[in-house]
Symmetry: C2
Subunit: 228 residues, 2 copies
Amino acid sequence: MSEPAAPMDDPDYKAAIVDLLGALAYGEVAAFERLAQDSELAPGLADRTELQGMAATEFGHYRKLADRLASLGADPVTAMVPFQRALDEFHDRTAPADWFEALVKAYVGEGLTADFYREIAANLDEDTRALILEILDDEGQAAFAVDRVKAGIAADSRLAGRLALFGRRLMGEALVQGQSVAAERDALTAMLAGGVGRPGFDLATIGRLFTRLTENHVARMGTLGLAP
Amino acid sequence: MSEPAAPMDDPDYKAAIVDLLGALAYGEVAAFERLAQDSELAPGLADRTELQGMAATEFGHYRKLADRLASLGADPVTAMVPFQRALDEFHDRTAPADWFEALVKAYVGEGLTADFYREIAANLDEDTRALILEILDDEGQAAFAVDRVKAGIAADSRLAGRLALFGRRLMGEALVQGQSVAAERDALTAMLAGGVGRPGFDLATIGRLFTRLTENHVARMGTLGLAP
């Protein structure tokens, strides 16, 4: 294993990490907001508090990421702003039409986010990686959605087609917005592509990353009883 | 000091505690929802995350209260349902029209809730009191609202009149809904009034309690630079 030395004195690396943490932080803020909103679609108080609990957990992640940004001397809001448009657009375009879509979005969204965190963790400096892994410890809260979605499909088989379509839309919009961020944020993309003279991802690695993200998405859709 | 013995084997006391915890738990759920919604009124991301942070903290309180209900053998949802109408009505009738009203509601609401928790803690069994005091440890998050409201009034003096009116409405609605809950929930009211054969509040004590809650409200309005 080649372990990169703590490289925060490299200004390019530090800029890329501030970008990465800003993107993740706004991702958590946006997830908080949308999960809190989506919880209102729940048929009852027990389901409602499940989604609210996920929202509260996301906000805890935001706090950790914002604290790290501050300790790097970066203003959290300034670091988040560049990612606001893409993430808001993702959420606007994938607003759930009902409780079942909210469940699919919570489950697929948590899984996709966890995959992304896991993938990027490997090539980061030790402190940043430890933070990412700490946040990953909270995953699995959306597992309750699986039973709910399966029960919904059992009660109304037409639901499966609509939710499968919605799941594809989620993945498609995530990829589109991800690409638009990558195109705009050079330092971040350079780091993820290994372009700042340290171990990182080359383009073939990024291709394999997208393949793994997609494979995991397909597996999650299967777990929900939905066609990929 | 007369310390009440752990009285959970008294079914009346236990029923009253389940009622109390259910009321507090739904109070936290409703606060989470409304703070999350109200955060959208914020003029910028920094202010938005302040209110979201308060919301996330309220959800943490909900979790603690729900865990305690479960450990008493009570279903949290069943315990919360009787208080849903009154608390939803309170929030519906005090929905902030803008960011400044959201700030006043966050500040006044946190203060009033903390006062109520502090007042009831004294006469509860030790375990319940410890839980209440643990939750009280989080208070003070709305302090940021003071500077914001004062700056708003400095920029537009007409704001003070509208916010003072809104603050009075908050207190009025809280008292109305509190009374409607007290009228409906006999076990809870009996406990708060000391009616289940153990140290509690008599009616004169309740009168003084309301006086203190009101005095503290007046003091908070003053801190915000508003007429009571």
